[in-house]
Structures are given as structure tokens and as C-alpha cells.
Amino acid sequence: MSTDNHPELVRYRSEREWFKLLHSQVKDSDVPEHQLAERTLTFCLDMYNRIIACVEEGDPFVATYYCSAPELCTAMDLPWYMVMQTPFLASSVPYLLDDIDSAEAMGLGSDLCTAIRLSIYYIEANLSPIPSCIVGLLYPCDGAPMLHQVIQHNSKWRDIPMFNADPPYWDDDRSLDYFAAELRKMAQFLEQHTGRKLDMDKLKEAIEESNKQFALWQEYNELRRAVPSPHGWDLGGSQCFSVTQCYRAGQKGGTDWFRKLIEIAEHKVANKIGAVEKERIRLFWFDLLPFGWIFDLLPWLEQEWGAVMVMDMFGNYPYTLIDTSSEEQMWRDLAKRNLFDAPMIRQARGVADNFVNDIARIVKDYKIDVVIWPGHMGHKDGSATIGIMRETCRKLKVPFMSLGLDLFDRRYATPDQLKEKMSEFFRAMGLG
């Protein structure tokens, strides 16, 4: 079928082309990191191909958010894509800024998280593949439930069944039981609206595989403690997250990807090869990376200041390895992983203690010299936690810096402005 019959695939096809281009650039490289990137891009292209094929052939597929127990889709052999895919996975596409402007022209004010604005735009402009059903998320931020309400409000999406697990605010047993029950309902919902059955043995298998992935991720995190750190901003939390949440949750290919990652890091650590030639500052970037303009800022940190992003918000979390010995326990642990452990959900959904504890743990474990709160304009809960973070860092005797930027729009705070601010701060703190 031609694209004309599926206008909702226009962006999706261009993204696929974009990733094909990126893939061709690393395909034949001898550099181990590039070889790993080649695998990640292959996963990514595979996902695009599957979704496009489902649309064209009328097969069931699911639109999801992140951290909505993707092992369920794996166990049910359901292709899925993330509603916020473009801003998070494909934000390097050349049309991102134009899309941000189109979102604003649509009447979406500029103080709303750009990721939400863009995702709303793609729904409203009919640029997101329309799935068989939607598994959404009502957290971690106020934007998420609003995005899902726009989906419900949109005339083309209105009749697509949607399930959102309701997030309790606490981190206790009662919340776990409640959320596990919500996840069970989510599984029933998927069965009902995709015609696929959930085989509990298959779920167990997928979860055991994702356990392996998370265990390997932890192993990799241990390697990042090394001085110098084997990797900086360009390899780490974001890729691990995309493999475990978006591309290969509970699938063997994902586990192999982690093995390769560890192999690369082990070699570097053993030979004391760092992310940069001379590591001068070890920084903790406590947020997502500025995906929309990453190359305008992060390489500079390394080149100019020898500042290595040893850890970021998506890097190191106490992911619960799920006990699969009983069904009951499996659901509970799955709930814990998705509600309490997963990065961003963990901090932005919950009480501020999670910010405090994560900073304390990472500063200590990773010999951090400076904590940077980038302050994405969408992260209003975090921005209301700056006093608490500053105090935490003061107690830990580590400098804390709050920036203020838009992860996707380099016009909000320009790379030059940010560079100046950071340089001034590093100098004042006697860093680097």
C-alpha cells in the first residue's frame, strides 16, 4: 500500500530513513562502540519496520508509553511503539524544530513540556500510527495524563481503546499491591483488544530474560565507577534504557547487546582507557540528555573541560530482579520495577526523598565532582526540588549547579549561553 493511504506514516517513514542513514554510517566500522550502535540502530529499524508493516497489513500493534511493563508485549508477541517516540528516540531528525513551531501554532503554549507538546502535535496532525489499542501512563509528570486525554479527545483516536494504570503516590506495600492489580488489568485489556492470549510461561520467560538484562546493566554500571570512566555521555543510560524499554524488553537480542556493552567497557577499564584522554571532572547529569541538540553541548564538555558524564538520570537504578517463583510475586515485582525503580518515574513521580537518595548514592559510588541539574523546562517537580538538591549536595560537599534548558529546543537556552554558564561555574568552583 502506498503512503497516501496512510498519511499517519509520513513522519514514521522519514524517521526510518533517518535511522537507515545513521545505520549506514556505523555499519562497517571497526570501532567497538560503533558496532554496538549498529546493533541498537538495527533494533530501532526493526521496530519501525514492524510497525509500518502492521499498519499496512492491518495487524494488531500497541502504542505505549515508557515503563509500562513492556515484557507483557514481548510475551504476547505484540509489536509496540512509544507514543513519545519522536522526541525521545528520534529527536535528531532534521524537522524537530519545525514541528515544535507547528505545535505552538496549534495553540499549545510554550511552557508545556516540549516532549508533550510534540507528542500532542503528532497525534493532532495525524502523524502517529494509529494502533489497535493504547497502554498509557498517568505519570510521572502532569503532562502525561494531559497527553493521554488529548488522545482520548482526538476524533481519529477517540475510539481506540486505552488503558492507563493508576499510579499511587507512595512507595509502600499497599501501593505495590494496588499497582500490581492495575498491571493485571492492563494484561487483560491487551488480551481483549488485540486478540492475543497472555501465556504466563511466556511472561515468565520474558521477565527472566529482562532480569538478565537488568543484572548486566548493573554490571556495566559497576564498570563505570572506574577512574577514568570508560564511557561518557555518548554511551550509557539512554541506550540501556531504550534497549530494555523500547526495543528488546525481555528478548535475547537485548541481553546479547548488554554482553557486548560489558565486553567493550571491560576492555577499556582493564587498559585504563577513559572516555576522554584526560578526565578532569566527573559529573552527574541528573536528568535526561538534551536529545534535540546533544551534539551542540555534550562533546564540548569533554573537549573543553575534560568533564565526563559518569552518570545521568537514566543510568543507575536499583532495578528489582523479579522473583518469578510465583505468579503473585511476579506481578508484584513487575509493579515495583515499573513504579518504584525505573528512572524518571522513580524521581518525578515520587516524593523528593528519591532525589536526595539518588544524589547521595551516585555521588558516593561514582566519585562525582559536580552534580548538574539541567532543569528541563518540562520537569516542574524537579525544578521545585532545587533547594532540596542544593542542600543535599552541600551536605555531601559536592558542588551543585542548576541550569534551565529545553531538552529538545536549543532556542530556549542556547548552547552558547549554557557553555558560558557552566564554564563560569567550573572556574568558580576550581574544577577542571
Binding site: D111, P145, M146, D166, A348, A384, T385, I388, S402
Partner: protein, 377 residues
């Protein structure tokens, strides 16, 4: 309005503390502040506490709170926290927050750490409105009840809870009577005056408030009313507790006759069901499922939009103003959807952004004037 009741209400709405609250405190009574209209005032009242809806009336700066919040945070919690830091909420014996939005739930974290209020709690309100969520919130209510009993040494029996439900239902129905009068062709009170009455109701003990409101209603029933306005307006939004803002709108000739806001119909358009045997069940149902919801409740947009349109026609409005505090994601997207719905029915809609503290009203005036003119009024 000439009677003393409106004067008392004005005093209560214009400052943080008012004589009724002061005499309550002087008599040994305790006051507990709460953020968000989904916090069950009934439980506080049943514990003999004065329930006080949090606002930052009179705040002039956010200088102190700027070290804790940033410039992408809503000005409402920033002003509230500033007042807390400079000791203006010392009259509070407790504060109850809700995970109502990203800004207010962090206000809890900051309050708990940096303000020496003895009793600081937060409740977990679901994002959905089904039976499981009602059951969850019932547990939250039971937990809150227990904590209040323990901290304040109160005994909250079912009878006391039922009494509080009755009392607050009475407040709500009196307030609806007040709104009924605003349906008149010449409403006997302006939108700014109505807001004064509503705000006062959140800062005084309920019995004297109800008595004064009855007096006021008697006076208003006989009153002649306001004519000569250019258009009848409705306001849709969140925390609007500042009559001065409504006054600026009305100074341009538009009379505000109804609303869907957090100090307005959202708190009183529905009653708690007194026929439900277990009072906590009744409260959980009311706060999660029955009362007019706010944008944070998923799956309710259609119902919210319908209510806006119902009120619009019941009060014979000519146009709607959507007010939103800057950096509020919930209201931004809600107004975006409402805009679509209203366009379909050709209902004039003006979206306005504002700061919690009303200042520099020039732009507001111009926008409202242009809106009235566009409506041909």
C-alpha cells in the same frame, strides 16, 4: 450590598486571617490548611478543626521561596511557600497537601523540611475515577482520619463525620442558592463579589459562615441587581481566589455570572451522598468520582467539557474566559481541548494566562475589551 455579612466576608477574603478565625484560635481552636479541593474538609471539621483553604492573599514577592522553586514553577505554590518561610502561616496547626500537580506535591516536600508546622501530610489522590480508585481513596481517608485523631487527640466517630457532611452539604447548597441568583437577568451581585463570598467560606468556621450566608441571601433576594453590563461571562480555570482579577474583567463591562473554578462550582456543584451508610465511602465517592473533576483526572474531559457547556447555557452566558496560571500544564492542555469543543458550538472563548498575584493589569484590560468587541458587545 449594605449588610454586615458581606463586610465580614470581605474581611475574610482580603487577608489571610480574619476575625472569625482569630476568635476560633483565641478559644483554643486549631486551624488546618489544605491544598486542593479534593482534600476532605469534612474529616477536619469532624475533628473540630477549622479547615482553611490555602492561598497566598497579600503576597508581594517570592524572594525567599526562589531558592527552593524555580522560574518554571507555578506562582501559586511559590507565593504560598514564600509566606510560609516568612512566618505568615504561623497560625496554622497543620497543613495537608495532595499530589494534585507537580508543583503542589513538591510544595509538600519543601514544607515538611523547611517550615516548622507540626502536622504536615500529603494524600495520594488517584488519577482515575473508577471503583478501584474510590476504594483506594477511601483508604487514604481512613489513614488521614487516623493521623488526625492521633495528632490532635480527636475522636472522629461516624456520627461526627455524618454531621460534618451534613454541615458542608448545607454550605454547598447555600452557595448554589447564591449562584441561582446570578442567573437573573440583573444578578444581585457581581462576579468579584461572589468570589469574595466563596473565598470567605474557606477561611471561617462553617456554622457562622452558613448563618451569614443565609443573611446575605435574604438581602440579595430583595436586591435590585446589576444591569447595564455588556456581556455575561463565565470563567473556567483552577485556583482563582483573587476578586481583584475578576474586578478588572468586570470593569471592562463583562459581568461574570458563573464559573468552573476551584473556589467556585468545582467545590459545591454536587453534594456528598448522605444516603451512603459509611461516611468514608460517601466521601471517597464524592471526591474521586462525583464532584466536578479537575483536569488531572484522566477520562473525565468529556464530562468536564459538558459541565462547562451546561453552566454556560444555564446562566445564559455570552462568552467564556479560560484563566490559567503560567506553567500549569494541566490547565494549558485542558483549555486547548475546551477551545476545540467550544469552537464546534461557536461559543466565544478567551484564553488568559496570569500570575497568581494580580498586577500590571493593562494587558488583561486590553484582551478583555477586544474579546467583548469581537463578540459584538
Amino acid at each position: 450590598m449594605t449588610g454586615t455579612s458581606f463586610q465580614t466576608f470581605t474581611e475574610a477574603a482580603q487577608g489571610l486571617v480574619n476575625p472569625a478565625l482569630q476568635s476560633w484560635k483565641a478559644g483554643g481552636g486549631k486551624v488546618v490548611g489544605y491544598f486542593c479541593s479534593a482534600v476532605p474538609e469534612e474529616i477536619l471539621v469532624a475533628a473540630d478543626l477549622l479547615s482553611y483553604r490555602m492561598r497566598a492573599t497579600g503576597s508581594e514577592s517570592t524572594e525567599e521561596s526562589d531558592a527552593y522553586f524555580s522560574n518554571i514553577n507555578c506562582s501559586f505554590p511559590r507565593h504560598c511557600f514564600n509566606l510560609a518561610l516568612i512566618g505568615k502561616f504561623e497560625f496554622l496547626d497543620g497543613v495537608i497537601c495532595l499530589n494534585s500537580c507537580d508543583h503542589v506535591r513538591r510544595l509538600y516536600d519543601n514544607w515538611k523540611r523547611y517550615v516548622p508546622t507540626e502536622f504536615v501530610e500529603i494524600m495520594s489522590l488517584p488519577r482515575k475515577t473508577g471503583p478501584d480508585q474510590v476504594a483506594w481513596y477511601r483508604e487514604e481517608l481512613a489513614l488521614l482520619k487516623e493521623k488526625i485523631e492521633k495528632h490532635f487527640g480527636a475522636e472522629i466517630t461516624d456520627d461526627r463525620l455524618k454531621g460534618a457532611i451534613r454541615l458542608l452539604n448545607e454550605t454547598r447548597s447555600l452557595q448554589r442558592e447564591l449562584y441561582e441568583l446570578r442567573k437573573r437577568e440583573n444578578p444581585p451581585l457581581t462576579g468579584a463579589q461572589a468570589l469574595v463570598v466563596m473565598v470567605a467560606g474557606t477561611a471561617m468556621p462553617k456554622e457562622p459562615y452558613n448563618a451569614l450566608l443565609r443573611e446575605l441571601l435574604d438581602e440579595l433576594r430583595q436586591a435590585e441587581g446589576n444591569g447595564g453590563y455588556r456581556a455575561r461571562l463565565m470563567v473556567v480555570g483552577g485556583i482563582l481566589d483573587d476578586p481583584a482579577w475578576v474586578q478588572v474583567v468586570e470593569d471592562q463591562g463583562g459581568l461574570v455570572v458563573t464559573d468552573a473554578t476551584c473556589f467556585g462550582t468545582r467545590t459545591m456543584w454536587k453534594q456528598v451522598d448522605e444516603s451512603i451508610g459509611d461516611p468514608l465511602d460517601a466521601l471517597a465517592r464524592y471526591y474521586v468520582a462525583d464532584r466536578p473533576s479537575c483536569p488531572r483526572m484522566y477520562g473525565e474531559q468529556e464530562r468536564r467539557s459538558e459541565l462547562v457547556r451546561e453552566l454556560y447555557s444555564e446562566f445564559d452566558c455570552d462568552g467564556i474566559i479560560g484563566e490559567r496560571l503560567m506553567f500549569c500544564d494541566q490547565w494549558l492542555v485542558e483549555h486547548y481541548m475546551l477551545d476545540h469543543d467550544l469552537k464546534e458550538e461557536s461559543i466565544p472563548f478567551l484564553k488568559l494566562e496570569r500570575d497568581y498575584v494580580t498586577s500590571g493589569t493593562g494587558q488583561l484590560r486590553t484582551r478583555v475589551q477586544a474579546f467583548l468587541e469581537k463578540m459584538g458587545k
